[in-house]
Each structure stands twice: as structure tokens, then as C-alpha cells.
Assembly symmetry: C4
Homo-oligomer: 213 residues x 4
């Protein structure tokens, strides 16, 4: 196996093509979100400003999903600065992660379509349920890679690795909280989503010291 | 010819840009599948959960197509760890393969739209017919590359090559079986599709021994 | 200028990122074509086969456009095995070319929508008019690059260069012929489009001799 | 931090994967613009030419947005020939920039839908407002990177850097002017947009001397 897959020299690294394919999927999923911002049609003259303001649920859903996918990309990028070997299981687990990413535009459209309506809670629970799954997939991939440092470069920073493990561990729990929050207040749960994006945008650990370049 | 094409140094390999373009097409096709998950519109208040459950044919079609395209990407990746030279015929055959990949969202939409309705069989036959074609295209590309080891790196693993040849040989037949199965039971044929994805996700051969990295 | 742009070491080549961006645009444009294959909706039970057969104009337009964009990608790839330096004009001319490529799904949709209807000729003229423009853009880019071998690697093959110049020279004319043909017979003009794709898929010159590797 | 992110050797450079992801987003956003060119449906026979001419607002909006996104890509490319180190803030600021880029198809659709109608001004103000934001994001990213030459290669050309700083400084102001112009005449403001694209396509500085390759 290792032999078979290990020779992806395309980008000078075992994981080069996995990263390229993943970048493509992240980039497309994040850009397709705009298709949920629907240009108002058949409106009375002079009411465009009003109609655009009425689209606020779409803007909010777009923002929360853009931030979440963007931060997932930053985290994927961060993991693959540590992961330098590729095995078959990594391909499968990465595929699972990308499955979750490609799905995101659908629950985003749900939230955009139902925010401010009686079914908003259902939409927000489905939305955050998707993120619970994604947080689980991130953990599984990370655990596979970090088990006995299986797929890391020999010189990978132990502090960084421990920091990421600690940060990811509670990810699924945080998004379960967002799910529960959606049952009480949908706007609050979307706000919490945006907060979580900022939390996961932060690196998992403050390095105790900086080494030269 | 070789001279003309052989100098794609862009990614440090003759096949670098072919892989990059293919990665793009696979990534986009797999991400466009989500556009077939339609957000329910104009439904009565309080019926969103119900409407979402009614969308199960879309979820099943999405899942089967995601797995199939994903596994085709893994196989494309696997082939190009062996294929290290590029000739004009390879460009054409790879184009044929990508043609099949870009088409997939259309039969996926058919299955999503007609599952559980009288025309489901027609949809599932068209769906599996696309995969028969794709399996044929994979075989043709592989045969061109492996004929006299034409396009392989000198040190490509013979066992791996033989394993892939054996695994691919019956691919078109398996999807013909899925086609036939669709005439009897559409859900069974989709289940078989998912099974086939797992089969082709497996590497074609267990290596008798592991060599150091 | 040269200094400013010349340092794109990202992919180990001056033109690396231009190629990557172009690959992305080609890959997306070719994959978006599938969105013009519309899944039939609201049809009577048992009529799906019939409805799918009625979609033949969509399939034909999809095929002709896929082949044309695919072959344009092969040609772009071929040019950038020779073009190894990047200047500002190349960025602009390449942008012009990509402009044409991103437009293609629109006239493709026109042909798919109007083939077999009285307005088919208008659609086919617009369709081939797009390709006339694209052929002009390819010529302009090629002339800029090949003028005094401005942007070529020092060891670029003269025969290959002359062959491409000869092959491209009449490109706009061929597509003007396809335009004219559309006024007489739309299916004939689409057939001619497919023929032209095969013509431009061929390398521009038979090399008189093969050199090792 | 530097340690954590700095090891993206995937493309032989610290910024390789950031550029690859950004290229993906730019390429997809620019190609999705074509989805706003709607094929006319349900028109009377023989009126296609007329209907196509009536779509001029869509063509104009497509052209202005294509040029603007294209030129933003050229500028992104230009910045990353200078930026050779990557820190966490750069990832965030680049994400902000990409946020703006992915949004563009929405205001483009607004302009295409409302040009020539009473609400055209609102659409054009929103359209240019997006570009004001994008110009601000470009400035912020550039200031972060150029502060004490934080992220530049040691041999980055000082003249080029000063030229870019000078060119970008007034970017937000220019697009505010386009906003104001939209209140007077929408076509004039779109024309100004196209002019601005050409302005930002120009390199920021004429180099006083050319150094060998």
C-alpha cells in the first residue's frame, strides 16, 4: 500500500494530490454558497432596497457557512502541514470529511429559506447536525494520523500536535450545544456558530517559544 | 509527440498538469451533486421535517454518486502514481474518462427525481449505464498505459500493476449486473452501487511484502 | 515587469500559477456544461424514456461543447509546454482566452434550447461566433508568445512551433465556415464542430524524428 | 505559529497552498458568473435575436464583473510574487478577501436583473459597495504583509512594493466614486468600473531599469 500510494511525486510530497483535490472541493463548496443568495425577481418598482433587506436570513446563513467552511479549510491546511505520509485509510477518512463539506450548501439553503418562519428550528438543527458530523470526521482523521505519530513528519512539533488534539476533542460537543441552542433560539445558535468559527480559526496552542524561521 | 508534451515541468512531472486538470473536474463534479438536493419551497408551516424525510431518494442518489465519484478519484490517483509518462493518446483517453465524470450529476438527478415512482427503473438503468461506460473508459486508459509498461516509471511495482488489471477487468461486468438488478429492484441496485464503491476503494492487491518507505 | 512577475516560484516555473488558474477555469467551465442537461420534471408516468430521447439537442450541444473546451485545454497545455516565461501581456491575453471559455456554457444552453425549433440558426450562429472569437484569442496569445520566441524556453522545438503556427492560422476561418454552415443546416454545423475538435486535438506537426526521452 | 504553518512544503513554498486555494476560489467565482446569463425560455418563434439583444444588461454586468475579478486575480498573483512567508493573520485576511470575491456573482445578478429599470441605482450602489469592501480588504492584506516587510522575500524589489502601496491606497476611494456615479448614471458607473479594471491591471510602477531574467 505505502509503496503504491507513496509515490505521488506530483507536488513533491506524498500528500500533494490529496491536498490539491481537497482544496478544490473546499474552494467549490465555499463558492457555491453564493447560489443561495437569490436575486429578487418580479418585485414592484422602487422596492429593491426593501427586498434586499428582507434577505437577511440568507446573508446570515451565507456568513456563518462561509466562516465555517473557511475555518475548516484553515484547519485542513494546518493538519497537512503536520501530516506528511499518506495511507489508504487517510484517503478514505479525508473523503468522509469532504463528503461533509460538499453537503454544507444544502443545510445553508435550509436556514436561509426558513429563518424567521415556524420551521426555523428544524432547519437550524439540521444545519448544526451537519457540523457535529464534520467535527466528528475531523477528530477521526486526526486520531488516525496522530496514532503513534503514524503519518507525521519525523520533526513534527509535539506541542502543536497536543494543542490540536486538545482543541478538536470537544468540537463535536460544541456543535451539539449549538444544536441544543437552536431549539431555544435560532439566531443565538447562528451567533454561536460564528463564535465557534473564530475559536477554530485560532491555532490550537500558543507556542512557548519561537524558533527562527 | 513525446518531446512536445513531455516537457510539462509545471509540477515537476510529465503528468502534473493532467492530474491537476483531472483533480479539478473530479472535485467540481462531486461538489455539484449537492445542487440536486433541493431546499423544499412553498410548504405548509410545521411540515419541514416531513418534507425533508420525503427527500430520501435525493439523499440516496447523492450518497451513491458521491461514493462512486470519490472512489473513481482514488483510482485515478492510484493509476497516476504508476503512470509517469504522458503521450497524446493518454490525454484523449483521460478526456474520455472526464467526460463520463462530468455527466454523472445528470443521471444522479434522474434517480433522485424518479426513485419511488413508476419510471424509477428507467432512471436507474441510465444511471448504471453511465457507470458501465466509465468502467470501460477506465479499462481502456489502463490498457493503453500498461501495454508493454508504456507509460510507467521504470521502478513501478509489477504486483500492483497486475492487481489493478485483475480488479478492473470485471468492472464493466459488475456495473452491467447493477443495470440488470435495476430492472428487478431499484433500491437493491443502488445498494449494489454502494458496495461496488467499497470494492473499488480497496487496493487491487495485497502486497506480499512491505518495502521500506 | 519581468522581475515583478517572474518570481512565481510556487510551482517551480514562471507560468505555474497562470497554468493552475487556467486549469481551474477550464475544469469548471467544462463541468458546468452538465447544468444544461435538465432532469425532466412533471411528466406523465411511464414517459421518461420518451422524454429522455427528446433531450437529444441537449446531448448534442453538451458533446460538441465538451469536446471543444476539452481540446482547447489540450491546446492550452500544449502551448504552455513551450511557453516558459511570463509577461504582463501574456496575463492579459490569457485572461481574454479564459473570458471566452467561461462564456461557452451560455451559447451551449442556447443551442440545447433551440435546436429543432425555428430559431436554431440564430443559436448556432451565436455558438460558432463564440468559437470564432476563441480561435482569434488563441492566435493572438500564440503570436505574442512566439514573436521572436519571446516567451519560449531556449530549447523549444522549432518544428513544433512552426506546426502550431500553421495549424492555428486558419482556426478563425474554420469556425467562420461553421457559422456559415449553420445558416444552411444546424446539425451539419454541429457535426463540423465535432470534426474541428478532432482536428485541433491532433498535434500540429508530425515530428520527423523522435529523440530519446 | 510560524513553525506550525511554515512547513507547507506541498508546492515548494510557504504560501503554495494558500495560492492554490485562492486560485480555486477566483476561478470558480469568475466561471459562475455565466450562470447569470439566462437562456431565454418560452419566447415566440423567430424572436431569439431580439431577446438576445434585450439581454444587454446581463452582458454588461458579466463583462464588468469578469474584468474586475480577473484583475483582482492578477493583483493577487502579483502580491504573492512578493509575499513569501505565511502567518496566521495572512490566512485570515486572505479569507476576508476571498469572502468578497465569492460574493461578487450576487451583486452582478442584481445589476443584470435591474439595469434599465427604476431600481438600477440601488443595484449599482450595492455592486460598487462590494468593490469598495474588496479594495479595503486588498489594502489591509497588503499593509499586513508589507509592514516592516514582514512577509516578503529578502530580495523583494523595493520599487515594486512602493508602487503597489501607492496604487492601492486610493482604491477604496475610486470605488466610492463609482458608487456616487451610480446615483447619477448607472451605465457611466459601469463604464468607470471597466476603466478601473484596466487601471488595476497595469503594474503599479514602471521599473526604472530592467535586470536580466
Amino acid at each position: 500500500m505505502q509503496d503504491e500510494i507513496g509515490r505521488t511525486a506530483a507536488a513533491g510530497s506524498e500528500t500533494g494530490r490529496v491536498e490539491a483535490f481537497s482544496d478544490g472541493v473546499f474552494a467549490i463548496a465555499i463558492t457555491l454558497l453564493v447560489l443561495d443568495l437569490k436575486v429578487p425577481r418580479e418585485i414592484a418598482d422602487g422596492h429593491l432596497t426593501e427586498e434586499l433587506l428582507h434577505l437577511w436570513p440568507s446573508y446570515l446563513a451565507f456568513l456563518a457557512s462561509f466562516l465555517t467552511i473557511g475555518v475548516m479549510w484553515i484547519n485542513h491546511h494546518r493538519l497537512f502541514t503536520l501530516i506528511k505520509r499518506c495511507d489508504h485509510t487517510l484517503l478514505i477518512l479525508n473523503g468522509l470529511l469532504l463528503f461533509g463539506v460538499t453537503v454544507v450548501p444544502f443545510p445553508t439553503g435550509l436556514v436561509a429559506g426558513f429563518l424567521g418562519r415556524p420551521d426555523a428550528r428544524v432547519a437550524a438543527v439540521v444545519y448544526n447536525g451537519t457540523f457535529v458530523l464534520l467535527a466528528v470526521f475531523f477528530n477521526v482523521l486526526w486520531r488516525h494520523a496522530s496514532h503513534n505519530n503514524r503519518l507525521f513528519a519525523p520533526d513534527a512539533d509535539r506541542d502543536v500536535i497536543r494543542g490540536i488534539t486538545r482543541q478538536y476533542m470537544f468540537g463535536p460537543l460544541y456543535y451539539l450545544v449549538a444544536c441544543a441552542l437552536a431549539l431555544v433560539s435560532v439566531p443565538a445558535s447562528l451567533g454561536f456558530n460564528i463564535l465557534l468559527a473564530f475559536f477554530f480559526a485560532l491555532p490550537g496552542v500558543r507556542l512557548p517559544e519561537r524558533r527562527p524561521g
